[in-house]
């Protein structure tokens, strides 16, 4: 009976985390299309519901009622597993995101490593989908995406080391609390810029959306997918983007901390601050999508390996020497 109680409590918590995440993923798709449209002086989706807010709901309904087509020469098990893997990985990472000092599903010691591990597993959904389709375009897209995500993970890892040097802990709440006096975006500003660009590449967003470059590869790894399976890829992708925004705001923008600790601001619940920061980063993502042309593939690789990796490594050495010289290393 005691076990059942614990299980029930945890399920309750998980549902209350996942339902808002899924709803906000649907809303964020609408926001993305709206921002994109406004940059190009269009209206964007504005018909379904007030301001077109229910557009994603209508889309989801359409996807549910469409037929799921499984190519006869595909590897069926892996073909079906791929969108499930993408979706699951995008959702399990939210377990460690702290919405306030106490509101966190799993306050584990190695939170940032968990986030990094889950985001590095994200490549499997894409590579499985591309290979199992047994078709040229999806396979090319999958290979492109695997190489791209593995490359940019390296620089994200080194950037995380930079932040960890200043914090002295792998716990996400400790990382947020360490930014009480100054957000890490100020001393580590170049790292924030590199993190943002690497996050774009890691989530296959424009200008690095080569895995699904529609002019060359039809739709990349998603070419053979239809109906709900396509929608799951799509939801997983946007949940991953939101996750990257959350990671950026925890590492650099002070997470759930309010910007200034004075009267009207510290009354606002800390979860609201985190959501506002995630939204700010997401609008930047959407703007980049609207204003930047697509990268060439060799340039993408050059940027990752020859520019970002050396730069972030040099910055690790600089941060470590600075902290060591001024005796600021966080030792406990």
């Amino acid at each position: 009976m005691e076990y059942l109680n614990i299980v029930f409590q945890e399920v309750y918590k998980i549902v209350f985390l996942l339902v808002p995440v899924l709803v906000s993923v649907a809303m964020i798709v609408w926001l993305d299309r709206r921002v994109w449209a406004f940059v190009q002086k269009r209206q964007g989706p504005n018909v379904v519901g007030p301001f077109g807010l229910l557009q994603s709901l209508a889309d989801a309904l359409k996807y549910i009622f469409k037929e799921i087509i499984i190519p006869s020469s595909s590897n069926k098990v892996i073909f079906i597993l791929a969108p499930i893997v993408t979706m699951t990985l995008a959702l399990i990472a939210w377990a460690v995101i702290p919405f306030s000092a106490t509101q966190v599903l799993a306050d584990i010691n190695v939170g940032i490593l968990y986030l990094f591990a889950v985001s590095s597993l994200g490549v499997y959904g894409i590579i499985m989908g591309g290979w199992a389709s047994n078709s040229k375009y999806p396979f090319l897209g999958a290979i492109r995406s695997a190489a791209q995500m593995v490359s940019y993970e390296v620089s994200i890892g080194v950037i995380i080391i930079n932040v960890l040097l200043c914090v002295g802990s792998l716990n996400l709440n400790d990382i947020v609390i360490a930014q009480q006096n100054m957000w890490f975006v100020i001393p580590l500003f170049p790292m924030f810029v590199i993190f943002f660009i690497s996050a774009l590449a890691e989530t296959n967003r424009p200008p690095f959306d080569l895995p699904e470059a529609e002019a060359e590869l039809v739709a990349g790894y998603q070419t053979e997918y239809s109906g709900m399976m396509y929608a799951m890829f799509w939801l997983g992708e946007y949940a991953n983007i939101l996750l990257m925004c959350a990671m950026g705001s925890i590492l650099f923008l002070g997470g759930w901390m309010s910007p200034i600790d004075v009267y009207p601001f510290n009354l606002v619940p800390s979860a609201i601050w985190l959501i506002l920061k995630i939204l700010l980063l997401f609008i930047l993502f959407a703007l980049v999508k609207a204003i930047v042309p697509r990268y060439r593939y060799d340039q993408l690789m050059r940027l990752g390996w020859k520019v970002f990796l050396p730069l972030s490594l040099i910055w690790v050495v600089l941060t470590a020497s600075y902290l060591f010289y001024f005796n600021l290393l966080p030792v406990n």
Partner: protein, 210 residues
């Protein structure tokens, strides 16, 4: 304790079964996916015994990077056919005796280590090196790795570096006749050097490339 046992046996059964399936499955890509499943369940076991840092590093390094490259190679090279021939017994493999010898050696080594651990615990200094204190797993690992074993740590890093340089040197070849793209040249092109206005006489034309 009961729930702990359930989880332990679930993960270990998954790990053992998927390890067997790595060698038993006929499709090589399936083998790699079983290998990934094996890595994941082993990292779950690591987390269950409280070594959360090792478990996460296992996920990041092996599943996130090594297995992706594995999958890459297996998907690109068509090794499936060769493996099928072994299964069908059309072609006898010369690797099987070597494999048996190596696996017997590993088995004997594991038996020695586990037997020694069980019956002569005093030769293994494990209980003293990882002190059972309140500091976290990551901290204690760092304190040992970067103080007592710093030289071993750095030597292993050097070995990895040498392996990487060696692999690059072995496969690197200077190819002639390759058109290289210099991005500095490409972005620093001006309109004046890119476009030229020519006076074309009729019936004569102009020679454009020289």
């Amino acid at each position: 304790m009961f729930a702990h046992a359930i989880f332990f046996y679930t993960f270990s059964i998954i790990a053992v079964v998927s390890a067997i399936m790595v060698t038993a499955s006929k499709n090589t890509v399936h083998s790699v996916f079983f290998l990934i499943l094996d890595f994941i369940s082993i990292s779950c076991l690591f987390i269950m015994i409280g070594a959360e840092f090792l478990g996460m590093i296992m996920l990041i390094v092996y599943v996130g990077a090594v297995a992706v490259l594995f999958l890459f190679v297996v998907m690109m090279l068509n090794v499936a056919q060769q493996k099928n021939q072994w299964f069908a017994g059309q072609q006898s493999s010369k690797h099987i005796p070597v494999g048996i010898i190596i696996s017997t050696l590993i088995f004997v080594e594991v038996i020695i280590v586990i037997g020694g651990w069980k019956y002569k615990p005093e030769i293994f200094d494990i209980n003293n090196s990882i002190a059972q204190t309140s500091i976290s797993n990551t901290h204690s690992l760092g304190q040992i790795l970067y103080t007592d074993y710093i030289h071993v740590f750095q030597i292993s890093g050097m070995i990895l570096l040498v392996a990487m340089v060696g692999a690059i040197v072995l496969t690197f070849r200077q190819r002639s006749g390759v058109k290289r793209q210099s991005y500095i040249k490409q972005i620093s092109r001006e309109r004046t050097e890119g476009v030229e206005v020519l006076e074309v006489q009729s019936n004569k034309g102009v020679k454009i490339d020289d």
